[in-house]
């Protein structure tokens, strides 16, 4: 069964148009929720780790938040260089070592 569901699948934004990506998860005993950025032909690049509901992390134009059922990645005033696929992954028992990934949201920012 899907543990991690991301929406929307694709997002087209105008430069400066803020928006949010959603990651919903159905695991119990969450050890950590991770956000990665993936550029075409590259490996996932780590952005944030969130461990508990209410936690927020911020980096440049990106802000990640976490509730008991979902996480949001907010992109504020995006630039074309923010265009990428954003992946959400969870780490939860009984599989404490692996990451379970969502399918990702592909963001395209037009100048």
């Amino acid at each position: 069964e899907d543990q991690v569901t991301q929406s929307p699948e694709a997002l087209r934004l105008q430069e400066g148009e803020s928006s949010s990506l959603n990651c919903s998860y159905t695991v119990s005993g969450l050890r950590g929720l991770f956000w990665y950025r993936q550029d075409p032909g590259k490996g996932p690049e780590f952005l944030f780790t969130l461990y508990s509901a209410g936690e927020e992390k911020e980096k440049e134009r990106l802000k990640a938040t976490l509730t008991k059922k979902e996480s949001f990645l907010h992109i504020t005033a995006p630039k074309p260089e923010d265009s990428a696929t954003y992946l959400c992954a969870v780490q939860a028992p009984p599989n404490d070592y692996k990451l379970s990934f969502g399918a990702g949201t592909t963001v395209t920012v037009r100048a």
């Binding site: 032909g41 590259k42 490996g43 780590f46 992946l87 404490d96 070592y97 990451l99 379970s100 399918a103």
Partner: protein
């Protein structure tokens, strides 16, 4: 900044042949992983390796696959008797500790003909 490096970047192999994918994890990391991503699909976990042994593996990781840390710096994935459906991007990842994030290499694109 330290990074995970993978070689080769692209490997083309005939069906039925064996391939070895190579990874150099970040030097002070203790946990090592292989994932794969079939074109257009999710990143899928294959195997994790800690303290010189497999700590967890997925149902994909059957007898066709094996991993090895032959020395203090390399981590390899061997795929025997390759099949067409093994074609994918294979990513190596490493992390320093159990509560640290995993860092990924840029992958090896494996094409089985």
């Amino acid at each position: 900044e330290p990074e995970v490096t993978q070689t080769p970047s692209h490997q083309v192999t005939q069906m039925g042949q064996e391939v070895i994918l190579r990874c150099v994890p970040i030097s002070n990391h203790l946990y090592f992983y292989w994932y794969r991503q079939i074109l257009g699909q999710k990143v899928e976990f294959l195997v994790s390796f800690y303290n010189n042994e497999i700590s967890e593996k997925s149902e994909i990781f059957d007898d066709q696959f094996s991993v090895e840390r032959p020395d203090g710096s390399n981590f390899t994935l061997k795929i025997r008797s390759t099949k067409l459906e093994d074609s994918a991007m294979y990513f190596c990842a490493s992390r320093q500790g159990s509560s640290q994030p995993q860092h990924f290499g840029d992958g090896t694109r494996l094409s089985i003909l």
